[in-house]
Subunit: 206 residues, 2 copies
């Protein structure tokens, strides 16, 4: 009975949470974390703003909920490295990169990157994903074939993040429109070199 009181606004039905998350992801990806208000997200999801606070708490909490599940890069990295090891890993990583970034999670991934790069307090999102998911996965899969994984991973991250920036944020051509095979051929060898170059002298230097 109370339902009819709020025509045009959805109350706490099972889809509401998912709709708020979808609206938040879309707006964070398109406009960045800072520009988007909770009120705006509520309007986009056609719910009352108080419902967002009820389900998710703060805007930071909503962001973390919005990025949480399908972003985890660990299984992707594990798949790339466990099939074939170090040999040709750069090329396989580029194929996985394109599959992930040009796939259904594109908007959410872009929102994570934009927010993490623009708001100092949120850079922990990418840094934690890197340190606690990616480095650990690389160590557990090819740690027996490659020394100093954290050192190599930081160089590889520098190329991968730069590719995200050039291809998806700045849209520099031709990097923005290359297909997976072309990226594997051009950027793959950069990754391979970072996996094999001498790095012992860069560890604990002082």
């Amino acid at each position: 009975m109370a339902r009819t009181k709020r025509a045009g606004r959805r109350s706490g039905n099972p889809d509401t949470r998912a709709e708020i998350l979808a609206a938040a992801r879309r707006l964070f990806a398109d406009e960045g974390f800072e520009s988007v208000s909770m009120r705006r997200i509520a309007s986009e999801a056609a719910v009352d703003p108080s419902l967002i606070h009820h389900y998710f708490g703060s805007k930071d909490d909503l962001f973390l909920a919005a990025i949480e599940i399908p972003l985890d890069p660990a299984p992707e990295v594990e798949a790339v490295l466990s099939q074939g090891g170090v040999e040709g890993a750069g090329g396989r990583l580029m194929h996985a990169f394109v599959a992930i970034w040009d796939g259904p999670h594109h908007e959410k991934l872009l929102a994570v990157v934009r927010t993490s790069l623009s708001k100092p307090a949120m850079s922990f999102v990418l840094r934690q994903l890197f340190e606690h998911r990616i480095v650990k996965t690389v160590e557990s899969t090819i740690g027996d074939q490659v020394d100093n994984v954290p050192v190599r991973a930081s160089f590889i991250a520098s190329q991968i993040f730069g590719l995200v920036v050039a291809r998806y944020i700045l849209k520099l051509e031709p990097v923005a429109s290359l297909n997976a095979a072309e990226l594997a051929e051009t950027v793959g060898p950069t990754i391979d070199r970072y996996l094999t170059m001498p790095v012992e002298h860069l560890v604990d230097r002082d």
Copy 2:
């Protein structure tokens, strides 16, 4: 006489413009373009907000004024490439990169990058710097030694922007604390390869 009416607020003296710009750079670098209000910048510069509008117009205009002069990367790129040409250019570029980014303009540069990456409407800043300053400078200095400069420059940009992200925003170690010689040795060869690899097949592919 009117001066004493506004104790604690500076009026339009010759330093006011410079102090507004310095405050804007500091806040944009620390907190990103979106988070910082004009009122906040006025407070930081200890001036009346109306003075900022008077001198600079909109917040976007203030940003462009704040990034304008010492940012121009063209002379730096020209110096790197005109002394020695393509041979060893990657290593020299890394030395110039560290000199610029660890130098007095660090805050301003970081503000430009953060803003350009977080706000879609501002990504034109980095894209325009890239297309209209860097690519043109590379073409005018080593365009006779290297084919398809815009293609190569987009790959090089992907590594350079990624280095900015990994070293100065996410602060991934050891990339964040390497000195210029160490970056020249590790990342320099990536740049050199992007300057010399075959790229004809990546031009006008459709």
